[in-house]
Amino acid sequence: MTEPLISALGIDQSFPVGAGFLGGPRRRLHALRGVDVTVAPGETLGLVGESGCGKSTLARVLLGLEPPTAGSVIFDGTDLARLPAVSLRRLRRRFQVVFQDPAASLNPRMTAAECIAEPLINLTDLSTAEIDARVLALAASVGLGSHLLDRFPHELSGGQCQRVGLARAIAPEPDLIVADEPVSALDVSIQAQILNLMLEIKARMGLAMVFISHDLSVVAHVADRVAVMYLGRIVESGPAEEVFARPRHPYTRMLIGSVPHPRPPPEGGRPLPKGELPSPLNPPPGCAFHSRCPLADNRCLREVPQLLPEVARHRTACHRVAEDATEGA
């Protein structure tokens, strides 16, 4: 196995909430609990789960944007939490981010060219002339016509803004891109353009990627490996092909079963997902999924299941699946 490019080990992240202006008890929201993820160089890890499951918090922790309450993030051998701010800034050249809403994440007072040049000015030692040349080359590589470079974000379409966002992210030639819902705000026809572009850039630059999306068909298409999150924990992880073809955790099955397909619906319809995501402020004890799980038994109400390796890097945190596997053996 190759050394991971980035690994997050035992990540806990919690935030104080409550005690608003009406008072009330102060509580802690546990956004992440004991999360381990690794990404190998050149690999795409897909993160899926319902809103509020901790996907974006994990992204921010991986990027060193917020230090975790517990655990460590190691990027290419360096522990981000122990790094002084100056060195973190220097290291940041190597991991970049692409956001969901391209129009909101670009500075409205900068032209497309200035947006793309900004990371080059801040993170590299290139001369002005070199930067201008790089901006042109970057724009070309993301399919952004040079006539658009003098425009401001509000004069660009959503797809064009996301191309600027991508050009900005790849400008300092990073090793890792964290993309948080990069195509969710785009129309279907534009979504395909941006996904193709991301796959092409990834292949050309040998980038590793963390690809966060609530759209399972998009993740199934781009990811090499996938991690499914539920209320701050990873409940299943493994090779994307394997997880989508043979999901093991009941939650993964429920998620995959909820995606509407442009195909004739099965006779009698599909089984409906049960319930809604419980409040992360007050997650159910034991396996947090037990309140919606068709397989839950007494043990699930008491014990938190561990993420256990089964077949070939495919791991599942479920008592019932683990029992089945033992019986089957």
Partner: protein, 342 residues
């Protein structure tokens, strides 16, 4: 479910233009839409294609000062909506037409309980007393399967989850037994699991109440699972329409084909290149007298720019504005999605 009886909603030749002398935008151009009784018609297209403007025009909600609406006919169960006064439109909205929108939080009043908001609608339109309205609210919350409806009746919107709020919106929309429900992207802001629950609820209510639904969506998966018929809209025009089975098994417009091709669905090799629709949606300020999709179409010929394509019928009940429907279909006939429908 569908029949050829009089449509409950009949829109013919609807055109909407915005703006004054300087810059005109032709948002809709000669749109025909019929929703039959008991049917779910999906209006499909990308942002800015005119789906929501269509709904607003039907409801008489477009600003009179800037929007110019022309139509041969907009009728709801025989009642003329196009020439109706503001006063009678106000009586129709919320009473004979129920509406739900994408984001339930912005459509609900944050300082009133959800039960109170449902009751108010009933009181406004039906003139019943408080007690009757309040029990109607409870009945509606039960109908949309809100667990512990009695307890939730006095909850404020912020105390409910996104899915529950959308259920409340549906309860409000149906409180006066409308003839038609207009649902504008009702699940776009929700998680897939909740989306599946809400769409199943809408389908069940249609079955149990014989409700007619105009479902505005961009998601072809949702269309395939819920709708009976669909109308595909592009740049303010309906480009293809028919039953879900006919359109998916015989896509005949380049745009429909492009939408189907660009989906990262199962059956496509992982990380393979998705078929993309090049370019972007055209500006509607100067519509050319041509097929609006010509610049992005994989099947374009010189004739496509010679005029607005006439309506052709690739099959019974299947209408399409394309001069090369056979070429489009020939190209797609072997695709996974199309074959699944044959």
């Amino acid at each position: 479910m569908t029949n050829d009886s009089d449509p409950i909603l009949d829109v013919a030749g609807l055109s909407v233009r915005f703006g004054a002398r300087t810059e005109r935008v032709q948002a809709l151009d000669d749109v025909d839409i019929q929703v039959r009784r008991g049917e779910i018609l999906a209006l499909v297209g990308e942002s800015g294609c005119g789906k929501s403007v269509t709904a607003m025009a039907i409801l008489g909600l477009l600003p009179k000062r800037t929007a110019r609406i022309d139509a041969r006919r907009i009728t709801l169960g025989g009642t003329d909506l196009h020439g109706a006064s503001d006063r009678s439109l106000r009586r129709i909205r919320g009473n004979r037409i129920g509406m739900i929108f994408q984001d339930p939080m912005t459509s609900l009043n944050p300082v009133h309980t959800v039960g109170g908001q449902i009751a108010e609608i009933v009181r406004q339109h039906r003139g019943v007393d408080r007690r009757t309205a309040r029990s109607r609210a409870l009945e509606m919350l039960d109908l949309v399967r809100i667990p512990d409806a009695r307890g939730r009746r006095d909850a404020y919107p912020h105390e409910l989850s996104g899915g529950m709020r959308q259920r409340v919106m549906i309860a409000m929309a149906l409180a006066c037994d409308p003839d038609l429900l207009i649902a504008d992207e009702p699940t776009t802001a929700l998680d897939v699991t909740v989306q599946a629950q809400i769409m199943a609820l809408i389908a069940d209510l249609r079955r149990d109440l014989g409700m007619s639904v105009l479902l505005i969506t961009h998601d072809l998966g949702v269309v395939a699972e819920t709708a009976d018929r669909l109308s595909v809209m592009y740049a303010g025009r309906i480009v293809e329409e028919g039953t879900v089975g006919t359109v998916f098994s015989r896509p005949s417009h380049g745009y429909t084909a492009g939408l189907l091709g660009s989906l990262p669905a199962e059956g496509k090799r992982r990380q393979s290149r998705l078929a993309e629709i090049p370019g972007a949606v055209p500006r509607l300020s100067d519509p050319a007298p041509a097929c609006a999709f010509a610049d992005r179409c994989a099947y374009v010929t010189a004739d496509c720019r010679a005029g607005v394509p006439p309506v052709v019928h690739p099959g019974p009940g299947h209408r399409c504005r394309c001069i090369r429907p056979d070429a489009v279909y020939a190209d797609l006939s072997q695709s996974d999605i199309v074959r699944a429908w044959q």
